[in-house]
């Protein structure tokens, strides 16, 4: 069987043509496979192998001739030849020399790309995100300064097309094991997480890893998703997708307290879920969650533990830290009575929020993100009484990098707190992972060494929580050892660090205790 086809007015160089002909000859085990321009010389060649047709004879040098002979499907062979020649003229992705200046160009160059990560200034992010969604790609917007109207429009468009729309202001996600923006190297597994709280997702995923579980997907929605204006569009859509996902056995939902309508929708979803759903909405709602059939978690750590247990893993590592040693309790009791206050300097917004919740019954904790108006710090840059500062807020990041990336501002604030004679306990969080500073503890070490004297009671205790995994670029184990060497009592979870703070505050001399 033979087949000859003439394609008019299609010039290709002979090297491309020969390479394609050779491949197709092998692929279809053909006796002859020829792709040539219809020059007189090539016509003679075709005549020699008896592949000259009238069509070819009448063709001109600008016309392409494809000709095959063999026992295989010759039509398919011709089609394959044609597509190989044309694909040789297609752009090739990757390569160091490849410079791509626009999203459109990148999508064209890498047609198989499926997710666009956007961290350009907010005013430009919307347009880019629309384009990505229009081109059928999932989107994560790291940028903030996007209006809530734009957020709703983007999320509605994404939902209509069955696409993920993470963010705006989504700091972290883990998709298919890949760390997006700020994320940690966590083990893959069967726990799917949807979080409207960036550091919340980091904390839960790292602790899932520590307790022996693994993460299937970690989806961030951006904090505003659980406001009624957005209505939990992305949280609900992602939760449903994970409930349908064969690799996900347990679902974890993490957020600050949603607004009422959104909360109700989330409860409806939990009621119909066929998989265990662990719910950590910092601040409670235990009764409603349990009534809906969910597994309630009061802290991020508890969410991780319960999810790991629900996934069928028997936890065989100790809770992230043992009780405080007696020496510390003794030192606390001897603390100078002027020293009464906690100063917590956070880089992770969700962790700071968790502190406000977890300590609310023990102390009046002032903050730049206070839940109660009367506890709002007058000046974010000056502590007053018990204070917890979220240093990732706008007033600290305006015109400078986030403190997770650039720690010097927090180091200065730490020095300030260490010199304050009224401070009894300092709490620091260290968030490791991709995107973060390469050695967050190291960046604070000098300040701690300079200002700390001893455990005599005349200097404050320093407590730390470290969010990270052994596989992170900074390795949590290394960071913990460094903290230990600095005399800092460090924990693998914020919740436990906060418990330690509570214990120390309670152990202070009676006249030093202050609500």
């Amino acid at each position: 069987m033979k087949q000859v086809q003439v394609i008019e007015n299609a010039y290709f160089d002979s090297a491309t043509l020969m390479a394609a002909a050779q491949l197709v000859k092998r692929e279809y085990a053909l006796k002859e496979s020829v792709a040539v321009m219809a020059t007189d010389a090539n016509k003679a060649l075709l005549r020699d192998v008896d592949l000259l047709s009238d069509d070819v004879d009448g063709a001109r040098a600008r016309d392409l001739v494809l000709a095959v002979r063999g026992d295989a499907d010759v039509d398919a062979a011709i089609a394959s030849l044609d597509s190989r020649i044309r694909s040789a003229a297609q752009p090739v992705a990757g390569g160091e020399a490849q410079e791509v200046g626009t999203l459109g160009e990148a999508l064209k160059l890498v047609p198989e790309s499926n997710l666009v990560l956007i961290s350009v200034p907010g005013r430009y992010a919307v347009e880019e995100a629309h384009q990505a969604l229009d081109e059928g790609r999932h989107v994560m917007i790291f940028s903030d300064n996007v209006s809530i109207e734009d957020e709703v429009a983007l999320k509605t468009k994404a939902q209509e097309n069955g696409l993920l729309m993470m963010g705006p202001d989504c700091g972290t996600a883990i998709i298919g094991g890949a760390p997006l923006a700020f994320a940690n190297a966590v083990r893959r597994g069967s726990i799917g997480i949807v979080a409207a709280a960036g550091t919340g997702l980091q904390e839960v995923s790292c602790l899932v890893d520590y307790y022996g579980g693994g993460v299937s997907q970690g989806i961030g929605t951006g904090g505003r998703d659980v406001k009624d204006r957005v209505g939990g569009l992305q949280m609900l859509q992602s939760a449903r997708a994970l409930l349908d996902d064969a690799s996900t056995e347990v679902l974890v939902l993490v957020s600050k307290p949603p607004q009422p309508q959104t909360f109700a929708r989330i409860m409806d979803l939990i009621r119909t879920a066929a998989k265990p759903v662990v719910v950590c909405m910092l601040g409670g709602a235990r009764d409603q969650v349990e009534t809906a059939g969910g597994i309630f978690a009061g802290t991020l750590e508890e969410a991780a533990r319960k999810a790991v247990e629900a996934s069928g893993v028997v936890i065989d590592v100790p809770a992230s830290c043992a009780e405080l040693p007696q020496s510390i309790m003794d030192a606390a009791a001897r603390m100078d009575t002027k020293r009464k206050y906690l100063r917590a300097l956070y880089t992770g917004g969700t962790l700071c929020y968790e502190a406000l919740i977890q300590l609310s019954d023990a102390i009046d904790l002032r903050s730049n993100i206070a839940l109660r108006e009367d506890l709002k710090l007058e000046d974010s840059f000056t502590s007053a009484g018990h204070t917890a500062v979220d240093m990732g807020e706008d007033e600290f990041t305006d015109g400078r990098p986030h403190p997770m990336i650039e720690p010097s501002l927090r180091a200065e604030r730490l020095a300030q707190e260490l010199e304050d004679p009224e401070v009894a306990v300092i709490l620091l969080d260290f968030v490791l992972g991709f995107g973060s500073h390469h050695d967050p503890v190291g960046a604070m070490a000098e300040t701690i060494r300079l200002h700390r004297v001893d455990g005599s009671g005349s200097s404050p205790f320093i407590i730390a929580s470290v969010t990270g995994t052994a596989e992170d670029p900074q390795s949590i184990d290394t960071q913990l050892i460094q903290l230990q060497e600095l005399g800092v009592h460090a924990y693998r979870s914020n919740a436990q660090a906060l418990d330690a703070v509570r214990t120390i505050l309670a152990a202070l001399p009676a006249d030093a205790q202050s609500k």
Binding site: F12, Q90, P91, E99, S119, V120
Partner: protein
């Protein structure tokens, strides 16, 4: 389209826009990621961003219209069918009419070289006997001046085309379209650079009396010459078919030469013609331009299309036309050319950018195919990597890639084709133009070559007009 299910079941393949570190983290972990060297849209100009946003609801229609326009371009198969007297074939080119390059202009506003060329054309036609008479005639208003582009024609540099000049006739058999271009006179003192002395006029007479019939006979004997395959091969031989035409001129000659023995002309005349053509390394340029013109005219008048159908300069102004906006010109002052000068000349001697030859870039060759013409990147003092960069930077502002014009240096990627005014504005990336540099005084000729960019203002004006035309008030 990738659903969430397929995303969960596979690995993410990420496009990263913004912080480069995020791409680095993914790459380090072995994930496939493409980083975009992102710039703020429209150079950060809010008015332009708003104009672009107004077009967003029409994006589907515009994209579709642009696809239609570019498909029409790709379907064109330009064939050189004859060489004829311009007045006999170019519509509206009557006696006392002179066509010129660029958007329309008047005698008063013409630059030096264009005036020089017009005077030469008047003498060549015999409408005046002396330069002084010619100048009086030009000034009198008796001569009708018009753009070549309004008559399906194009000409390099001043592009001056009077009725008695020979032209290439290039036809598209499929659409029936036709375009014309003068024949290239060579370098030095030539009419297209505004020279009008005796040697110029004698050469023009030779081209009319001997070269035209000679070439016409050869072309007819050859049954017409397909232009596209010549361009296609020349792009793989170091030409970009605007500022470098060594290979294409040789390839053209190769098509013609076998028919020479059967030409019924005195052997001395044949010798003169052959040595004239073979000594001119830019002979193919005008043919390349006519082919580009017939190609771009096929893309005209597609409603909703933002495709640029012409870019051209008259030595004073630069003009562009846009498919969905009919025959309007959107103009700005022509810019200076960044390039290398021949010994004895410098930037102070240069005329601003001039000629219809940027029709080649409009059609996706010339500066857009610089990656195929690494030898001439020297003109802009660049490296071979710069040549590749020029071409690569044009993919962002075009709507298609011409697989017929695969560039070896880019792994046979097709040339970037079909300029979209939206993309030019959004990316703040202006079309790259390869060009010769003319002396600002008439008659001195070419004094250098280099690269220019089309003026931003042309595209801004076109975008505003497009929004006015297609977006109703209140939206």
């Amino acid at each position: 389209m990738s659903s969430m299910k397929t995303l969960f079941e596979s690995e993410p393949i990420v496009v990263n826009l913004g912080l480069k570190e995020f791409a680095g983290n993914l790459a380090e972990r072995g994930y496939e990621v493409t980083h975009v060297e992102w710039k703020p849209p429209a150079g950060g100009d809010d008015e332009l961003v708003r104009l672009l946003q107004k077009l967003r609801p029409l994006a589907g229609q515009i994209d579709e219209a642009n696809r239609t326009a570019v498909e029409r371009m790709f379907a064109v198969n330009p064939v050189l069918t004859e060489i004829a007297r311009a007045g006999d074939v170019v519509p509206g080119l009557d006696d006392y009419t002179i066509l010129h390059a660029g958007p329309p202009t008047s005698w008063e506003q013409m630059c030096g070289p264009l005036k020089g060329a017009v005077l030469g054309a008047i003498l060549f036609e015999g409408w005046a006997a002396t330069l002084e008479e010619a100048e009086n005639l030009a000034f009198s208003g008796k001569i009708r001046f018009d753009s070549c582009h309004h008559h399906s024609a194009v000409g390099p540099m001043t592009g001056v085309l009077p009725p008695s000049m020979p032209v290439f006739v290039v036809k598209d058999r499929a659409s029936g379209g036709v375009a014309f271009a003068s024949l290239n006179e060579g370098l030095g003192k030539v009419l297209r650079f505004g020279a009008n002395g005796v040697e110029v006029l004698e050469r023009l007479a030779f081209m009319r009396d001997e070269l035209m019939p000679f070439l016409d006979t050869l072309v007819r004997m050859a049954g017409g010459i397909d232009v596209k395959p010549i361009v296609s091969q020349a792009l793989q031989m170091g030409d970009e078919c605007h500022n470098r035409n060594k290979a294409s001129s040789a390839l053209l000659l190769k098509e013609l030469v076998p028919h020479v023995p059967r030409v019924d002309m005195p052997v001395e005349a044949v010798e003169r013609c052959l040595s004239f053509v073979s000594s001119n390394e830019h002979f193919f340029l005008n043919l390349s331009m006519a082919a580009a013109k017939v190609t771009m005219d096929a893309a005209r008048d597609v409603d909703f299309s933002t495709l640029v159908t012409a870019m051209t300069r008259n030595g004073t102004d630069f003009g562009i036309s846009v498919s969905g906006l009919g025959n309007c010109w959107f103009t700005a002052r022509a810019k200076d050319v960044d390039g290398l000068f021949f010994p004895g000349y410098g930037p102070e001697d240069a005329n601003p950018d001039m000629g219809d030859s940027t029709i080649t870039e409009t059609s996706g060759i010339g500066g857009f195919a610089m990656a195929g013409a690494i030898p001439i990147v020297k003109f802009v003092g660049g490296t071979s990597e710069d040549a590749l960069r020029f071409t690569r930077s044009m993919y962002g502002i075009t709507v298609a890639e011409n697989s017929a014009y695969g560039l070896p240096a880019l792994n046979f990627r097709g040339t970037p084709t079909g300029i979209d005014i939206r993309k030019v504005i959004a990316l703040d990336e202006l079309p790259v133009l390869n060009t010769g540099i003319a002396h600002k005084e008439a008659g001195i000729g070419q004094i250098g070559a280099g690269v220019a960019r089309a003026p931003h203002e042309c595209f801004v004006k076109a975008l505003r007009a497009f929004v006015n035309e297609y977006v109703s008030e209140g939206e």
